[in-house]
């Protein structure tokens, strides 16, 4: 079997050191191996797509990186040093965050919790805190939403505020789990271009999971494709090929380029899984 991880790193632009290295991670859940020997790395200033069908293990992989899920093998190295459990310098926007419309919390309160929400005790009002919050809201084009209740914002607006919350502590990595799911086309494009801009301007590594890669194609520097419990990483051209994906899925799949879109179809029966691109 051609090791899917083997294609990694050939297209590396060079000198920059990875901020995150995932090496040979395996995870078992409920006695079943969900991920096996997953390896990839993230570079500062780059946007990486974590692509795979539903149930492939994208959320699980993010939880391992965050230290919320213990792997059965392998290790995660952050900025050159292996980390133990505890607070990690990664921002996180989980999949499907449901914000209660009656929650007494304005967008600025939510972002402020990104600075010191893990601390015990009552916060004292501070000018620098307020300034950091407003800067971050500005960076995600949500300053005008600062005094609105978060639960009453639209899906796309909530997503931007959650991104500001994840970024305000100035992490070197931000992980976003399916941030485009359940967004309309316009909000989807807004969020995608916003994330590309953040990666570039703030020089942080952005990892975005999605079960559908097409919206990310214009901005994705690298891709980590997960399927069948394995992962392959590299540039889109290297990874999204008939050979690599067939080996991941364990059956023949075709990769079709239709205009600017990529469609992955199972060779025998195009109506069934795997299917990642519509």
């Amino acid at each position: 079997m051609p090791g899917p991880g083997a294609s990694d790193a050939q297209s590396d632009p060079g000198a920059r050191d990875p901020v995150l290295e995932v090496e040979g991670i395996s995870v078992s859940l409920g006695g079943r191996e969900v991920l096996g020997e997953v390896s990839f790395y993230l570079l500062p200033g780059q946007l990486t797509g974590l692509i795979g069908p539903n149930g492939a293990g994208k959320t699980t992989l993010m939880r391992v990186i965050l230290g919320l899920q213990a792997p059965t093998a392998g290790r995660v190295t952050l900025a050159g040093r292996p980390h133990s459990s505890g607070r990690r310098p990664a921002g996180y926007v989980p999949q499907k965050v449901v914000l209660d419309p009656d929650m007494p919390m304005r967008a600025r309160d939510l972002v402020a919790l990104g600075i010191d929400g893990h601390r015990f005790g009552i916060p004292l009002p501070s000018r620098s805190r307020r300034q950091a919050v407003e800067e971050m809201l500005e960076a995600v084009d949500a300053l005008h939403l600062a005094d609105q209740r978060v639960g009453r914002l639209s899906g796309g607006e909530q997503q931007r505020v959650l991104i500001a919350h994840a970024l305000v502590s100035r992490p070197s990595i931000i992980l976003l789990d399916e941030p485009l799911a359940s967004l309309d086309l316009r909000s989807e494009q807004e969020v995608v271009s916003l994330l590309a801009r953040i990666a570039e301007r703030q020089k942080i590594a952005v990892l975005i999971s999605a079960h559908e890669m097409n919206p990310l194609l214009p901005v994705m520097d690298r891709i980590v494709y997960v399927a069948g419990g394995r992962a392959a990483s590299g540039t889109t051209e290297e990874v999204v090929t008939t050979e690599v994906l067939s080996s991941l899925y364990g059956q023949h799949v075709d990769v079709l380029h239709v205009h600017d879109r990529i469609v992955v179809v199972a060779g025998a029966d195009p109506g069934r899984e795997p299917r990642s691109g519509a």
Partner: protein, 313 residues
């Protein structure tokens, strides 16, 4: 002016020691319940409050049988139930329903038995009255230090977990990723909740104790957009309801049936409800406005039709 004030405050109101104690204890308890209650409503854990108040009923009635103070019964069983709830796992919606249901049934069954013993063995209805309606005007000076300590602990715990609790109420995964010990924070909060319910049971009775917990908080949450305002407003509504309730209960000695005051808890709970209706009134108002607009439209249409019919005829 003087007459006006005796109309509101019945004679002797300001000279009664019991009233003074009730005002102080009731006010403190209202603040504790309101602050803890804001999180109860945010976290959607009113059910836990209800289960704890049922258990407090058991604890209070059991305390009478054993001859210890009801507050001790409320607190001991409340804390035990909070620990049990955490073990059963109130995080999961299913586990939480089952846990609440089982605790509730068993708790009320025991309360009935204890109250039966209390009333048959002692031939008084004191226990039942205390459990049902609280004992705001009969707080013994020996329990006041314990009440003060418990109130301070509940408020202290709430202040301690304020931010991590907000974060984990918002989203548990976000909180975990930020390094919040989500389970510990949840347990500390339940501890505060158990104490708030116990204190509330002393003042307005175990069965009604959740009214003071959930009512002011729910009202405040309809109005305020920010956490600090919600806490302040809920406290204000809680204290207002309790103090006004005390005044009315004191006045009610002069209402029929003469010589028997109405239970203060009745007034407190009713006032809490009235405050809630005020926030609802804004909705009613809006509804009324749109109804009026509709009526105007209908009237115009009718006039129009009338004119057409007349023109046609």
């Amino acid at each position: 002016m003087g007459q006006m004030s005796t109309l509101v405050f019945a004679p002797g109101f300001f000279h009664s020691g019991a009233v003074g104690v009730a005002v102080a204890v009731g006010g403190a308890v209202a603040v504790v319940s309101a602050c803890v209650g804001v999180f109860t409503v945010i976290r959607g854990q009113s059910f836990a409050g209800h289960a704890l108040s049922d258990v407090a009923t058991t604890g209070g009635s059991g305390a009478f049988v054993l001859g210890v103070s009801p507050l001790t019964g409320y607190v001991v069983l409340g804390l035990a139930a909070a620990a049990a709830m955490d073990l059963v796992g109130i995080q999961r919606a299913r586990g939480r329903d089952v846990a609440t249901g089982i605790v509730l049934g068993a708790g009320l069954g025991l309360s009935a038995l204890f109250l039966y013993f209390d009333t048959t063995m002692r031939a008084t209805t004191g226990a039942t009255m205390t459990i049902l309606f609280g004992s705001m005007f009969a707080i013994s000076s020996s329990t006041i230090p314990l009440i003060a300590v418990l109130a301070a602990v509940a408020l202290g715990v709430t202040a301690l977990v304020y931010r991590p609790l907000m974060l984990s109420s918002l989203d548990q995964e976000i909180a975990r990723a930020a390094g919040v010990p989500v389970r510990l924070v949840g347990v500390l909060y339940l501890l505060g909740l158990a104490i708030a319910v116990a204190l509330s049971a002393v003042t307005i009775g175990a069965i009604l104790s959740t009214a003071l917990l959930v009512g002011p908080a729910a009202t405040a949450l309809r109005i305020s957009r920010r956490p600090a305002t919600a806490l302040a407003l809920a406290s204000l509504i809680g204290v207002g309801s309790v103090w006004l309730g005390i005044v009315l209960a004191y006045d009610s000695f002069y209402w029929p049936p003469r010589g028997h005051g109405w239970p203060v808890s009745f007034f407190v709970v009713t006032l809490v409800f009235v405050f809630y209706l005020f926030t609802e009134a804004r909705v009613l108002h809006r509804l009324a406005r749109s109804r009026a607009a509709l009526a105007r439209l209908a009237a115009r249409f009718a006039v129009h039709r009338q004119a057409r019919i007349q023109a046609g005829g």
